[in-house]
C-alpha cells in the first residue's frame, strides 16, 4: 500500500488553507512550512493566467534525500513515507540540497512567533514547541510525513481535511481502484519535474 496524494489544480483556488492547517497540526516553528504554496503567473496580458501550486513532501519512490543522507537517518517505510530519525540525523543539510521540491527543513531553535511579546511563550506555543520537540527537534532535518499520526488514527492528513475546495486527495497508489489512482488515470495526473527521476507519490491534475 503506497500512500499517495492527488492535488487537483482545477479546484485549488490559492487560499493557503492547507499551509496553515499543516502548520497547526505539525506545530512547525516560525518560517517552516511542510505544505508550502507557491503562486505563479504565466502568459501575457490580457491572456494571462494565475495558478497556485500547493507543495508538500512528494514521498518519492526514488528519494534523492534518502540517497544522499550519510547517516542513514532518512528512512522509508513500507507505505513509501520518508521519515527522519531525529536521534541519528546530524543535520548536515545535504538532503536540503538534494530535494528538488524544497521539502526538507531544518531549524536551530524555537523562535517565538511574537518577537515583540514577553519572553515566556503563550500556552499554545508552549504546547506546540513541546510537540515539535517530541517529534522533530532542532538542528536536524524535518519534513512532511503525510500526517502518519492522523492516518494511523483513521483520519486524513490535515491539509486534505482543511482544503475548502476539496482539491486534495489521499489514498493508495498501489490500488488501481482507489480514488486517487482513478483520478490520476482519468484526469491525466502528472508529477512535478519527473526528469529528476524521483518518481514522486504526489500527482497533480491539470489546472485547465
Amino acid at each position: 500500500m503506497r500512500y499517495g496524494f492527488v492535488i487537483d489544480l482545477k479546484r485549488c483556488y490559492g487560499c493557503y488553507s492547507c499551509t496553515v492547517a499543516c502548520k497547526a497540526t505539525n506545530h512547525t516553528p516560525k518560517n517552516i512550512d511542510f505544505a508550502k504554496c507557491i503562486q505563479g503567473e504565466t502568459g501575457i496580458y490580457p491572456s494571462a493566467l494565475r495558478q497556485m501550486l500547493p507543495t508538500l513532501c512528494m514521498q518519492c519512490s526514488e528519494p534523492e534525500c534518502l540517497k544522499v543522507c550519510p547517516t542513514g537517518a532518512t528512512l522509508q517505510d513500507e507505505h513509501g513515507v520518508v521519515t527522519v530519525d531525529k536521534d541519528i540525523c546530524m543535520g548536515c543539510g545535504y538532503c536540503m540540497m538534494a530535494c528538488p521540491y524544497g521539502q526538507r527543513h531544518k531549524v536551530q531553535l524555537w523562535e517565538t512567533y511574537f518577537p515583540d511579546g514577553p519572553p515566556e511563550l503563550d500556552p499554545y506555543q508552549a504546547y506546540a514547541k513541546e510537540k515539535w520537540e517530541v517529534k522533530n527537534g532542532y538542528g536536524i532535518a524535518a519534513k512532511c510525513d503525510f500526517c502518519q499520526d492522523r492516518v494511523n488514527d483513521g483520519k486524513q492528513p490535515a491539509c486534505v481535511e482543511a482544503c475548502p475546495a476539496k482539491a486534495r486527495y489521499f489514498g493508495d497508489l498501489d490500488d488501481p481502484e482507489s480514488e486517487i489512482s482513478i483520478l490520476i488515470r482519468r484526469e491525466r495526473g502528472f508529477q512535478l519535474n519527473p526528469e529528476f527521476g524521483t518518481d514522486p507519490s504526489v500527482y497533480y491534475l491539470p489546472a485547465r
Binding site: Y16, A21, E41
Partner: protein
C-alpha cells in the same frame, strides 16, 4: 495546567462557529488541559462541511497573541489624532464602567441623541439584535458598520434586497452552467458562507460550469474562470446594460413568461413616467391583449400580459415598462459607446451576451422533489467591487437585470439570493419565518432584514435626525461623505440637526482605517466626539488615535452568540440540503480580564436603569430580524434575565423549540432541518414581483429634493439618479481630464485576511510575506516599464488632491494596463500590532470622501480614484 503531551487530563472537541471573518463556518475546537491546540472544520455543519480556511486555523494564534488587550485602559494623553501616543493607563473594570456609565448617564439625561455606535462586519452576529436594542433603549439613531458604505453594502445589499430579498447573490451551483462574475469572488474568497461556496464552485467547475469574470484584476476567480475579461474599474453597469441591449434588441432573447408574471415589466406607464393606476383600487394597471383591455395587475381574469405596445387607458397613452426599458437600453447603451466606457471590445460583449442568453435555455424545466421548475442555467452576479462606485445602486441593478431578463432568478441554475432569504422556519416552531410578501403594488417586501434599512419600500425623505443625515435619503444605509468631510458641521447646521456628537461606542471597528482617508476621518469625524469607548481585541489605529477608554473584548472563542447563521440572508450557505442554525460558545475561559461586550452592555444598561427598556427592545427586534413573534414565556423581562447567557437561552428556545436552549445546543453547536424546494427555489412559490422599472424612485427623488431645498441644500444629491430606468453614471475618475493622473487605483481583498483585523496574526503574516502580491502594488508590466518602474521599486501613488501612499511595485501580467491594483486593508501603523506594522499598503488613504465621490441614490462611497505613480527618491 500546561498542555504537555505526556500529561493530558483533558482532551475535548467543542463545536462552535468560527469568527475569523463573517463566513460563520461551523468548526470544532480542541482543548487540551485548558489550552486550545487545534481548530478543524465541523463536518456536521453544512456551513463549511468540515473544512477550515487559513484564517480559521490561525485563530488560536490570535487568541493567545500577547498583544491582545487583556485589561481595560484609559487614555491619559488628552491629545487625539493619527499617530498620537495615547499614553494608556491600566484601570480596573470597575473604574472603566464607572467612567463609561457616568458619561452615558450625563448624556442620557441631557440629550441621548448624540451617541453613535460603530461595529465591524466580523461581529455582525454579535451586534445584530443586542447592540441595536441598546440603541433603541438609550434613544439614539446613529450607527456605522465597518464595511458598510465604503467596502460593501450600500448598492449591493439594497438592490439584492429589492430583487432577491437577500444580502447578496450567487449562482445556483447545483445546476448553473454559465455565470458572469462582476466585482465579486463568490466561491474564491472569504466572508458570507465562503467555505461552503468554495466547495460548491469547485464541484460546479468540475461539472463544466463556466465562469466569465469581468475584473480589472486577474483575481482568484478570474484565474479559475473560463474567461477573464479585463474591464475598466467602475464600468460594470455599462457593460451589463450593453449586453441587455444586445439580448433585447439584437437577439430577442428574454423570458417573456417570467417578465410577465414576476416583474413589473408589464405595468403600464404614463407619459409622466408613473404607473397608470386603477381609479378605484389605485393598483397599477396592465394590458390584457387577449381581452383588449387594461386590468389591475392581480386581476384573476387576466389571460395574457402585453410587454410591448401603446395603449389608450382612460384617455392616456400608456406603454408597458418593458418596452420603455427595451428602447432605453437601445438608445442609451449601444455597444460602441459601452465599449468605449468599459474598454471591453464590442465583439466580446456581443459574444458574451449571446452565450449568456443561450445558456439560459429559456423555456426549459426541471423536476425537483416532484415540483416542475424553470431551469435557467445562466447567472450574472456582483458584489463589493461593482458597487463601490458612484453608480453603486444602478450598477448592481443593471447586472441583476441580466438575470431577470432571462428569468434566471431564484430558480434552478439561475442567480440566487445569498444567503437564502426564504425560510419557513424550523419544523418545531415555524421560526424564523422569512417568506417575502407583496406590497399593494405587487412588489416584493422582505422579512427579516439584517439592519434597520429595509430595501423596499423606501424611506420617505423627511427632515433628517441622524448625524450623517442618512434618514433623509430614501435608500441609504449609512454614508461617509457627510461625516468624514470638513463640511460636516456645515451639513448639520444647514439641516438643522439640533444636537451634536457626544459619545461613540465602538465595537471593534477600525474606522480610522476603513472609512476613507485616515486623517480626514479622524479630524473631521472621530475627534468631534467628547468621549469614545471601544471594545477591541488589539490596540489598533482607531483606539490609539481617538479612544478614551478601551475594554478588552472576548474573541469568538470566548463568548456566546445565539444567532450566528441567521438571519439567513447574511451568511447562510445557499443551494444546500439543510438549514443550519449555529451558535457560538466559549471554548476557553476568558483570558485575562476579557469580557463579551454583550454581557458588558447588559451591565451598562442595568446601571443606567435601562435594563427593562433594553430587554423590551430586544423583544421587539427579534421578531423582525429572526422572523416571527416571540412566545410570551420567552419574552425577556428583568426578573428572568440576569446574564447574557439567559438572553441567549430564551432567544434560542423561542426560535427553535423548548428543548433547544443554550445547554442543549452546546453539545452539537447547531440545529439542522431540511431545506424545502419551495424555500430554495422560491421565486415561483412566492407571489411577488420585482421591478425592472423603478417608478417609485420618481417620488423618492422629488421628495428628497423638496426636503433638501427646504433646508437650502438641493445640491445634496444629483436627482438624475432618481429615474425609473437603469443607468450608468461615471465616477469622477472616469471623467477626469488631467493627463498627469493617468491610472485608476482600486483595491481587492485577499481570501486569507479579514479586512484590517488579521495582519497581526503571525501565521497569516508568514503566508502574506511569501505571497508575491498581497502586500505589494501590482502594475501591468508594460505600464510599469513605460513609467520607468522596475519590479520591487518603492513607488508613490498619488491622487488628484495630493494625498499619496507608498508601496512596493510588482510588475505583473494580471492587471488591466490602465490600473494600479492594491490589496486592502493593510499598511498598519499602530504600535499595538507590531507584526502588522508597515506591512502592505494602506489603500484607503487615497479615497476621497465627498459628495462628488458618492452615489446619489444609495450614498455609497466611490472606491476608485485616478492616480499618478512615480518612484520614491533615495531615503524617502
Amino acid at each position: 495546567m500546561k498542555a504537555q503531551p505526556g500529561n493530558i487530563k483533558e482532551d475535548v472537541w467543542i463545536p462552535t462557529a468560527c469568527g475569523g471573518c463573517y463566513a460563520q463556518c461551523g468548526i470544532k475546537v480542541r482543548r487540551v488541559n485548558g489550552t486550545i491546540v487545534e481548530m478543524d472544520g465541523n463536518p456536521d455543519s453544512p456551513a463549511g462541511s468540515g473544512r477550515i480556511c487559513a484564517k480559521g486555523s490561525a485563530q488560536l494564534m490570535t487568541l493567545y497573541d500577547p498583544h491582545r488587550l487583556n485589561y481595560p485602559v484609559k487614555r491619559t494623553n488628552p491629545e487625539k489624532g493619527v499617530g498620537v501616543d495615547p499614553k494608556w493607563e491600566r484601570i480596573s473594570w470597575e473604574e472603566a464602567l464607572d467612567i463609561i456609565v457616568t458619561k452615558l448617564k450625563a448624556v442620557y439625561e441631557k440629550d441621548p441623541r448624540g451617541v453613535y455606535f460603530q461595529a465591524t462586519t466580523v461581529q455582525t452576529s454579535e451586534i445584530r439584535f443586542a447592540v441595536v436594542a441598546f440603541m433603541r433603549a438609550f434613544g439614539f439613531k446613529n450607527y456605522w458598520v465597518s464595511g458598510g458604505g465604503l467596502w460593501c453594502g450600500n448598492g449591493a445589499h439594497f438592490m439584492n434586497g429589492i430583487m432577491h430579498a437577500a444580502w447578496s447573490i450567487i449562482p445556483d451551483f447545483n445546476y448553473n452552467n454559465y455565470t458572469l462574475y462582476f466585482g465579486c469572488s463568490k466561491g474564491h474568497g472569504a466572508g458570507h458562507a465562503a467555505l461552503q461556496t468554495a466547495q460548491q464552485v469547485a464541484d460546479a467547475r468540475a461539472r463544466g460550469m463556466k465562469a466569465v469574470v469581468f475584473d480589472p484584476y486577474l483575481s482568484t476567480q478570474a484565474s479559475k474562470g473560463h474567461e477573464w475579461v479585463p474591464i475598466r474599474v467602475g464600468t460594470d453597469g455599462a457593460a451589463a446594460l450593453g449586453m441587455i441591449n444586445v439580448l433585447l434588441n439584437e437577439l430577442n432573447i428574454y423570458d417573456a413568461h417570467y417578465l410577465k408574471h414576476k416583474t413589473n415589466a408589464v405595468y403600464l406607464i404614463q407619459p409622466d413616467g408613473y404607473n397608470k393606476r386603477d381609479a378605484a383600487t389605485n393598483k397599477p394597471l396592465v394590458w390584457d391583449p387577449e381581452d383588449g383591455t387594461a386590468k389591475t395587475f392581480d386581476d384573476p381574469s387576466i389571460k395574457d400580459f402585453a410587454l410591448e405596445g401603446s395603449f389608450e387607458v382612460q384617455g392616456t397613452t400608456c406603454t408597458p415598462a418593458f418596452q420603455l426599458f427595451k428602447e432605453h437600453v437601445k438608445k442609451e447603451y449601444p455597444l460602441d459607446k459601452v465599449s468605449k466606457i468599459t474598454s471591453v471590445p464590442e465583439k466580446t460583449l456581443r459574444r458574451i451576451a449571446k452565450e449568456f442568453g443561450e445558456h439560459a435555455r429559456i423555456g426549459s424545466t426541471i423536476t425537483i422533489d416532484g415540483k416542475v421548475l424553470p431551469l435557467r442555467p445562466s447567472a450574472a452576479i456582483f458584489f463589493r467591487g461593482s458597487q463601490g462606485h458612484v453608480n453603486s445602486g444602478w450598477t448592481c441593478l443593471s447586472i441583476d437585470l441580466l438575470n431577470h431578463i432571462v428569468g434566471a432568478a431564484d430558480v434552478p441554475g439561475g442567480s440566487m439570493g445569498h444567503g437564502p432569504p426564504v425560510c419557513q422556519g424550523h419544523p418545531d416552531t415555524g421560526k424564523p419565518n422569512t417568506v417575502p410578501f407583496a406590497c399593494p403594488d405587487g412588489l416584493m417586501e422582505v422579512k427579516g432584514w439584517v439592519y434597520d434599512h429595509k430595501p423596499y419600500p423606501l424611506r420617505k425623505p423627511s427632515a433628517p435626525q441622524r448625524l450623517d443625515l442618512q434618514d433623509m435619503f430614501p435608500c441609504s444605509i449609512y454614508n461617509a461623505f457627510t461625516i468624514c468631510s470638513p463640511d460636516w458641521e456645515k451639513y448639520l447646521e444647514a439641516f438643522k440637526i439640533d444636537y451634536r456628537p457626544s459619545i461613540m461606542i465602538n465595537f471593534g471597528s477600525n474606522s480610522v482605517m476603513t472609512m476613507g482617508n485616515a486623517e480626514e476621518v479622524t479630524e473631521n469625524f472621530l475627534k468631534k466626539f467628547e468621549f469614545i469607548f471601544s471594545f477591541n481585541i488589539y490596540h489598533n489605529e482607531f483606539t490609539e488615535a481617538v479612544a478614551d477608554v478601551v475594554l478588552p473584548d472576548a474573541s469568538f472563542l470566548e463568548r456566546y452568540t445565539p444567532c450566528v447563521t441567521f438571519p439567513s440572508t447574511f451568511c447562510h450557505p445557499t443551494g444546500i440540503d439543510q438549514w443550519v442554525w449555529e451558535i457560538r460558545q466559549p471554548v476557553v475561559e476568558q483570558i485575562g480580564e476579557r469580557q463579551d461586550f454583550n454581557a458588558v452592555m447588559l451591565e451598562i444598561a442595568d446601571r443606567l436603569g435601562l435594563k427593562e427598556k433594553y430587554l423590551e427592545a430586544i423583544n421587539k427586534i427579534i421578531p423582525i430580524r429572526y422572523g416571527g413573534e416571540m412566545a410570551e414565556k420567552y419574552k425577556l423581562t428583568p426578573d428572568r434575565i440576569q446574564t447574557w447567557e439567559d438572553i441567549c437561552d430564551n432567544v434560542l428556545r423561542d426560535r427553535l423549540g423548548d428543548d433547544k436552549g443554550l445547554e442543549e445546543l452546546k453539545k452539537t453547536g447547531l440545529v439542522k432541518w431540511p431545506f424545502k424546494v419551495e424555500e430554495m427555489y422560491w421565486r415561483w412559490f412566492v407571489p411577488v414581483r420585482v421591478p425592472i422599472y423603478f417608478e417609485y424612485f420618481l417620488d423618492a427623488g422629488k421628495q428628497l429634493k423638496e426636503v433638501a431645498e427646504s433646508f437650502g441644500m438641493p445640491e445634496i444629491a444629483d436627482y438624475n439618479f432618481y429615474k425609473p430606468l437603469a443607468q450608468w453614471n461615471p465616477c469622477p475618475s472616469h471623467t477626469m481630464d488631467n493627463p498627469e493622473f493617468d491610472l485608476w487605483a482600486f483595491c481587492w481583498r485577499p481570501s486569507f485576511h479579514t479586512q484590517s483585523s488579521t495582519q497581526n496574526n503571525p501565521w497569516l503574516d508568514e503566508i502574506s510575506l511569501s505571497d508575491p502580491w498581497v502586500y505589494l502594488v501590482q502594475i501591468n508590466e508594460e505600464t510599469g516599464k513605460r513609467k520607468g518602474i522596475a519590479d520591487k521599486d518603492m513607488i508613490w501613488i498619488e491622487n488628484p488632491v495630493g494625498i499619496k501612499i507608498k508601496g512596493q511595485a510588482r510588475l505583473v501580467q494580471g492587471v488591466h494596463d490602465e490600473h494600479v491594483c492594491i490589496a486592502g486593508c493593510h499598511g498598519h501603523w499602530a504600535k499595538g500590532i507590531p507584526i502588522a506594522e508597515r506591512k502592505g499598503v494602506f489603500f484607503d488613504d487615497l479615497i476621497i470622501c465627498d459628495i462628488n465621490y458618492t452615489d446619489s441614490l444609495t450614498q455609497g462611497s466611490d472606491t476608485c480614484v485616478k492616480v499618478k505613480i512615480y518612484k520614491c527618491e533615495e531615503g524617502e
